[in-house]
């Protein structure tokens, strides 16, 4: 380990997601839920037969789909979005270790993860691409008039397959969250135990420790003071 600082220099709890990120996450989750439920009612024959009201279900699906990127965009722009933008940048940047970790099917014990591991980075990129593709193909399906006819069939094809894989990755996202209550609760209350950080995101732990050393102790105001110096 090349860690330059010890655990005792970080407060017991550190902020993982700020309020803006959490609000954006849950707004996004609700819209995804509505879009996925209406998608199922439009797509799965036996559900379509039960729910009916195709025009209404379609309208709700389109509105939820169009609104879906809004919380993310609003959270990313403006002064309030600095933490979200920084996390987006973390998700975007892949190190050699990230690639090695994915190639080892997440088994390589020598790889130390940052705030996000390579699986989370891959999932974030896929989800981002999927949202853009669903938005574009859904728009072609809804407003098909100006486009060549084959585009409508092609857009339906892309929309269906992307949605199919997105169902799987979102189910996976929820399963992983349920298996790690600290991580899941951090999306609700914002903070996470620094012991969790040291175990699951050691490089981020190093980063936070360096920052804590460089900056005045008040930098982690959301967290409880953990030693006498902070208390003073």
């Amino acid at each position: 380990m090349v860690a330059t600082t010890s655990l005792s220099e970080l407060p017991e709890r550190v902020e993982r997601f700020d309020r803006v990120q959490r609000v954006a996450h849950w707004a996004n989750a609700v819209l995804f839920g509505i879009a996925m439920a209406t998608a199922a009612a439009l797509y799965i024959g036996s559900l379509s037969a039960l729910v009916g009201r195709r025009e209404l279900v379609k309208d709700i699906h389109v509105i939820a789909g169009l609104a879906l990127p809004v919380p993310l965009v609003v959270a990313a722009v403006g002064r309030w979005g600095h933490a979200f933008r920084r996390d987006l940048s973390r998700l975007n940047r892949w190190t050699r270790d990230d690639v090695r970790w994915l190639r080892s099917w997440s088994r390589d014990p020598l790889v130390r993860a940052g705030k996000f591991n390579a699986g989370q980075k891959l999932n974030a990129a896929f989800t981002g691409g999927a949202i853009l593709l669903l938005l574009a193909t859904g728009s072609i399906m809804k407003w098909f008039d100006p486009f060549p006819l084959t585009w409508r069939t092609g857009a339906t094809f892309v929309h269906d397959w992307i949605a199919f894989f997105l169902f799987i990755t979102i189910a996976g996202h929820i399963v992983y969250a349920l298996r790690d209550s600290d991580a899941m609760r951090s999306m609700w209350r914002g903070w996470i135990p620094s012991a969790w950080v040291e175990h699951h995101a050691p490089l981020w732990h190093d980063e936070l420790s360096r920052e804590a050393e460089a900056a005045p102790p008040a930098a982690h105001s959301s967290a409880r003071p953990s030693d006498a110096r902070d208390a003073g």
Binding site: R53, N92, D98, V99, A155, T156
Partner: protein, 233 residues
């Protein structure tokens, strides 16, 4: 301020790559869909029916419930400008000379189910049985879902490939496919093949149906209407 984040912008490349692949998919997706559908066409397990393989029915209903009627209670009424209004039970229909067809079902939104086995009675036979009067020009079809209606000109209705169907894929037509009795208008887009057929009314002018007042073409020839160029059935 915090230190710069290391690494290559691979996340962005994944997103851009997906957008590229997606664009190709929009351009060639129709043909890909057909290829995938033919691969999955013979799946006895039915597991692949949840995959977006195309080539399968999507169930559209314009009302908020699944209309259904028991075959024993089913009645088809033929009325309007006819000499003798006729009411047929399901058993009456099945007793008439059957017409069998194996033909595709093409939806105006793009999906197509190939080689569906249909059995029914020619609509023209039913019209002859009731006796169409001279001033009659068209047919209005009513569904027992209470909302949907359709239309055909008399000439269209007399085509041999227009049937009142009571069997599909070798079985009684299930409720979600419009059973017990639906119309199958082979040469036209699916919205013409009204489900849950209730009444056949002979009239003196075409009355545009449910989707037709909402913008679809009244003459719905496959490949020659609604701005589409699908292969005719």
């Amino acid at each position: 301020m915090s230190v710069a984040i290391e690494g290559k912008p691979i996340g962005r490349r994944v997103v851009l790559g997906m957008l590229g692949l997606g664009s190709v998919g929009v351009l060639v997706g129709g043909r890909l869909q057909d290829a995938i559908a033919s691969v999955f066409a013979n799946d006895p397990t039915g597991i692949t029916s949840l995959l977006p393989t195309g080539g399968r029915f999507r169930i559209y209903s314009v009302v908020g419930y699944l209309p259904s009627r028991k075959t024993a209670e089913y009645q088809l009424e033929i009325s309007g400008l006819v000499d003798t209004p006729v009411t047929l039970s399901y058993a009456d229909l099945v007793a008439l000379p059957p017409t069998r067809m194996t033909k595709d079902f093409q939806c105006v939104t793009g999906w197509r189910v190939q080689d569906v086995k249909w059995v029914g009675v020619r609509l023209s036979d039913l019209l002859d049985a009731a006796g169409v009067q001279d001033e009659a020009k068209a047919i209005t079809f009513h569904s027992f879902d209470g909302s949907y209606s359709e239309s055909l000109t008399l000439d269209q209705a007399r085509r041999p490939d227009v049937i009142v169907a009571y069997s599909m894929e070798g079985k009684a037509i299930p409720a979600r496919h419009g059973g017990p009795v639906r119309l199958y208008v082979a040469p036209m887009y699916g919205y013409k093949s009204i489900k849950w057929l209730d009444k056949i009314e002979v009239v003196n002018a075409v009355q545009p149906g449910y989707w037709e007042v909402r913008g679809y073409d009244v003459d719905a020839w496959i490949g020659r209407s609604n701005g589409r160029d699908d292969q005719p059935v």
